[in-house]
Amino acid sequence: MSDTWIILGATSTIARVMARQLAEQGAHLVLAGRDMGDLERSASDCSARGAASAQAVAFDARDPESFEGALALAETAEGAVNVAVFVGSMPPQEDMDADPGLIAGVVTDSFTGPAAFLTRIAPLMEARGKGCVVGVGSVAGDRGRLGNYIYGAAKAGFHTYLSGLRNRLGRSGVHVVTVKPGTVDTAMTWGMEALPFLAPPEKVAGDILRAVEKKKNVLYTPFIWWPVMTVIKSIPEGVFKKLKI
């Protein structure tokens, strides 16, 4: 019996690549997101590549009513249910500085929306006693930086939520992986200049699936971001506040 993977934000570049890799392993896939036309195309792709099943379902992190579709599919799925969260949004910091009304949306997309979904599905996962949650955060959540601290704050909130969720679900055999990607070559970063260590999405998706297999708790991908962030986190606030990195 194949596992089921519910992928939130399945139109994301990294999610698409990971869904493909899961399809090749014969998983059942639920591709959840806002752009149904595009999700249908990805579902066809996954089916053709060997998924046991693949279907598109509407999901908007800002609209809790839209969670029902994916939750209903989880109920009927046989075997382990896994959830991977790729939802997130990162408008330019200047836009948010000019219009603070945007902040709530970023926090909903990157933190509270996915957290609300995960909290709703948690009892089902606990009841099954297996499966895992992959939550994609960001290295941006490790420290508030001048360039994108609202997005970073939302991701930091999500990291803390995931750490608590791991603490809770681990007791019933469900594992939670926190993923902190560095910069990835996706639609989100296309056209941004001088990105250090830009990683292909295939590499990040592969790292995530390996982390799931090995039950890693926190994954920095590519790995170089672990030492980089260790250094950045260790800079005293008095010094850090003067830096522009």
Partner: protein, 437 residues
């Protein structure tokens, strides 16, 4: 952000461009882009020259639109996004007994690039060109997707197949996969001692897949010696692929010096026993032998290289032999030279194939080689042959017009769909392909 300024090159690395690139990941993003800021589509840039370049202008990288939209396991009918790589389709479908109908020598080429160049493969003599298998194309226009078929839109279809992307971005295409006996290849290699024997063997071969490797450095009685490879699909067990390797830096100029190339070719030829041999190969090793070494184009060093590829009619085999004499005497040839017999199959107005023999030879980019290629181009024209625009970096307008008599029919369709020239590339500009006279 939609645009990113980048510097990129064709596969031969002689021509390059700096310009704005977009890389849409979904149909709606491509649609908005073509409506607002139309630009030519490019694929994996496996064209050698400037077909995939737009200096100081915009271009649309299609490689993230690479999904399989529909596959019928009964008939093999496939619908895919145009950025899908042909080698990826092979990897997905060969284990289930289906092969892309036509595969060029690199699996990195995309379906869009395969259509826009109407590429040919080792089965051209039986199966025709890629475009001949395509039953439907979805073009992206400023007003949304437009589906065209060979029946309902005959002229536009023929202007799109082999059409260098000038009728607009291809979003997706339908074509049939071919049923294979299994996902390994049974390959027979024969040593060929000279030119005459090569032609005789090529003419007599009825293998599904065939290709000749020619030693373009051999002279005198050995002129035209090489190896004929014939392949059929089959079933069986075989070791999984080794990891691909990468060429980490540009090779120094001497790496492909004549004595080294001669020695390599000699060894490559002798590798096959005198009596020939039959072996079982991985399917991708047979179709894409060079793909195992990533970025092998860097072996030619910083100044890049040219591939000369022509086809001449069957009755002009002697002209081709003369070209080979010039090449062998020049000492400029690289190890990679291919000789193949082509069938008449071609799908578009500007398609390369014609019934005859095709020769492809690589040359490191330097003045002597450029002069030689010029000579070879003239000989091709004399022989009523044709140069391949997927490889060309040096030809002139007049020569290409003479070789492509249907240019006018192609241009009429292109001008009707893109009168302002948004989809022009460096190649169409260099060869003035979008001008009437």
């Amino acid at each position: 952000m939609r645009w990113k300024t980048d510097t990129y090159t064709g596969w031969g690395r002689v021509h390059g461009a700096t310009g704005a690139l977009a890389r849409p990941e979904r149909a709606s993003a491509l649609e908005a882009l073509i409506a607002e800021e139309p630009a030519p589509a490019i694929g994996m840039r496996r064209s050698y020259g400037d077909a995939c370049l737009a200096q100081d202008r915009r271009a649309v990288d299609m490689t993230r639109l690479d999904r399989v939209l529909e596959f019928d396991g009964e008939t093999g009918a496939l619908h895919v996004e145009a950025g899908a790589r042909i080698g990826d389709l092979l990897a997905v479908f060969a284990p289930r007994g289906w092969l892309p109908p036509v595969m060029p020598g690199t699996g990195f080429a995309t379906v869009g690039g395969g259509i826009a160049m109407d590429v040919h493969g080792k089965n051209h003599h039986h199966a025709g060109s890629f475009g001949q298998h395509v039953t439907e194309i979805t073009l992206m226009t400023g007003a949304g997707p437009r589906v065209i078929t060979p029946e309902a839109d005959a002229a536009l279809f023929k202007a799109t197949v082999g059409g260098l992307g000038q009728t607009g971005p291809i979003l997706s295409a339908r074509f049939g996969l071919l049923k294979a006996k299994g996902d390994v290849m049974v390959v027979t290699e024969r040593r060929v001692k000279d030119w005459e024997q090569f032609l005789t063997l090529l003419d007599g071969s009825d293998a599904t897949y065939s290709v000749g490797w020619i030693d373009a450095t051999a002279r005198g009685p050995a002129l035209g010696r090489g190896i004929l490879e014939e392949g059929e699909t089959g079933g069986g067990l075989i070791k999984p692929a080794k990891r691909s390797r990468k060429v980490p830096f540009d090779a120094p100029g001497f790496a492909l010096a004549p004595p080294i190339v001669r020695a390599f070719n000699q060894a490559y030829w002798r590798r096959v026993p005198e009596a020939g041999r039959t072996s079982v190969k991985r399917i991708d090793d047979f179709f894409f032998p060079l793909d195992k070494i990533h970025d092998w184009n860097r072996l030619y060093g910083r100044q890049g290289f040219h591939q000369f590829q022509c086809v001449v009619p069957l009755d002009q085999a002697d002209a081709l032999r003369n070209m080979l004499v010039h090449i062998a005497n020049s000492g400029f040839a690289s190890p990679l030279a291919v000789l193949k017999r082509m069938g008449p199959g071609r799908g578009g107005f500007l398609s390369f194939p014609m019934e005859g023999y095709t020769l492809a030879v690589d040359f490191r980019n330097r003045p002597g080689a450029v002069k030689l290629i010029n000579l070879l181009e003239g000989m091709t024209e004399q022989a009523r042959g044709r140069l391949y625009l997927a490889k060309d970096a040096l030809a002139t307008t007049g020569r290409i017009r003479a070789m492509y008599p249907d240019h006018g029919a192609w241009l009429a369709e292109v001008l009707a769909i893109d009168p302002e020239g948004h989809f022009a590339t460096d190649l169409t500009r260099r060869l003035k392909l979008r001008e009437t006279t």
